[in-house]
């Protein structure tokens, strides 16, 4: 092999760098994000595990249904009806965006632009943060 003295150490360094996050993370306790749960509402539009996985899909579907199809009422699996609205339904229960939404989003490094337009905490009075 030509230039083995460069290639082999180079490969070792590359593999080492590529595996570094896994080696560093080994043995660490599992990542836990403590979010603030809504105080008054007991159930969500979907079961907890499901909404955790697919809330972004659900919000996309809601957006299309409301704006493009004019369908504004969502019937959940247990037959309860909700107004399809991020601002008025989701944020109505999850009052504090910083302590609920941002907790996870910051941890996993995603930056949704929902709040560029949709206002947070409709139940809060003016000036309250």
């Amino acid at each position: 092999m030509y230039n083995a003295k460069f290639i082999i150490p180079g490969l070792i360094i590359f593999i080492g760098l590529a595996l570094f996050p896994f080696i560093k993370g080994a043995g660490q306790p599992e990542l836990k994000v403590e979010t603030e749960k809504p105080k008054e509402a007991k159930e969500c539009v979907l079961p907890k595990e499901k909404i955790r996985d697919v809330h972004m899909v659900l919000l996309n579907e809601w957006r299309d249904d409301v704006i493009r199809n004019g369908k504004r009422v969502y019937t959940s699996e247990n037959g309860k009806q909700y107004n399809m609205s991020l601002t008025n339904t989701c944020m109505g229960c999850h009052e504090n965006k910083d302590k609920f939404c941002d907790k996870c989003h910051n941890e996993v490094g995603v930056n949704p632009y929902c709040w560029n337009c949709h206002n947070t905490s409709p139940v809060k009075k003016e000036g309250e943060k």
Binding site: R63, I67, R68, G70, R72, V73, Y74, Q81, Y82, N83, S85, T87, N88, T89, G92, Y113, N116, C117, H118, N119, T120, S121, P122, V123, K124, K125, E126
Partner: protein, 258 residues
């Protein structure tokens, strides 16, 4: 106690001032109570139509009523107040020349000439903005409303070039700092999207009338253009009404009684 006519007039003057103070507003209006969050039941009885249309009785308007209608719309939909070329407008006023540039009456009656006209998106039958929108962010729904999907708007402004009525505004900057009292229940827009009047599609879905129509106290009428018994058709049956720029062929849905 003997009271002179002079004293009586003084008293009457002060009382009249007191009565008018409430409407003039310098005693302060009551703080706007926070509306309840709309729930699913609010959408149980939507107003529906095949083709929504509006009739504006221009003679019934004065400056105070213009302000009332415009404020009702702009404060509820978080329309920012920006001066100059970057102005955002959903509903605004214009003089005869500006409103009806293709109507060329010679020696127009003074009353009509000096009147202001309330303008808004015409929600046309053949909307040019829909035809030119490359992303289908602007579309016509099955009730004849021309609606914008801000999520899909890429800010190319073809629709602004296409609209013959100047009913669309572009957000050159983040509108949030220019909104005085944000209505938390309605989203505002972001930089880089076009926006316009929606005929209050979210109010129609709750079975209510558009906010400007409600605020106008009868000077504006709203209803289904295809239904001969609707409010708009009843008015149009008896009054002569014109539309803006009929020659561009967009078939506007807003009629003006001159």
């Amino acid at each position: 106690m003997q009271s002179s006519r002079r004293d009586f007039l003084k008293l009457a003057g002060v009382s009249a001032l007191g009565l008018s103070a409430g409407t003039l507003g310098f005693l302060g209006e009551g703080a706007r109570a926070a509306d309840a969050l709309p729930t699913a039941t609010d959408f149980a009885k939507p107003s529906t139509a095949k083709r929504w249309a509006m009739v504006i009785d221009t003679a019934k308007f004065d400056d105070a009523l213009f302000k009332k209608c415009i404020d009702a719309c702009h404060s509820n939909h978080n329309v920012p107040e920006i001066e100059g070329k970057q102005q955002i407008k959903w509903i605004w006023t214009e003089d005869f020349e500006g409103a009806f540039p293709t109507e060329r009456p010679a020696y127009l009656a003074e009353e009509q000439e000096h009147r202001k006209y309330l303008l808004l998106c015409n929600h046309c039958e053949n909307p040019a903005c829909v035809r030119v929108c490359p992303t289908k962010a602007t579309f016509k729904n099955n009730e004849g409303l021309v609606i914008m999907d801000y999520h899909r708007c890429i800010g190319c402004r073809y629709c602004m070039a296409g609209c013959p009525y100047g009913a669309r505004s572009f957000n050159f900057q983040d509108p949030a700092p220019h909104i005085k009292n944000i209505n938390l229940q309605y989203p505002h827009r972001t930089r880089g999207v076009v926006e316009k009047c929606t005929f209050c599609v979210e109010k129609l879905a709750q079975g209510k009338l558009p906010l400007c129509v409600e605020a106008s106290g009868g000077a504006m009428v709203f209803g289904d253009l295809t239904d001969p018994n609707s409010e708009v058709r009843k008015v149009l049956k008896h009054k002569y009404a014109i539309r803006r720029k009929p020659d561009v062929g967009t078939e506007p849905g807003v009629f003006y009684i001159i």
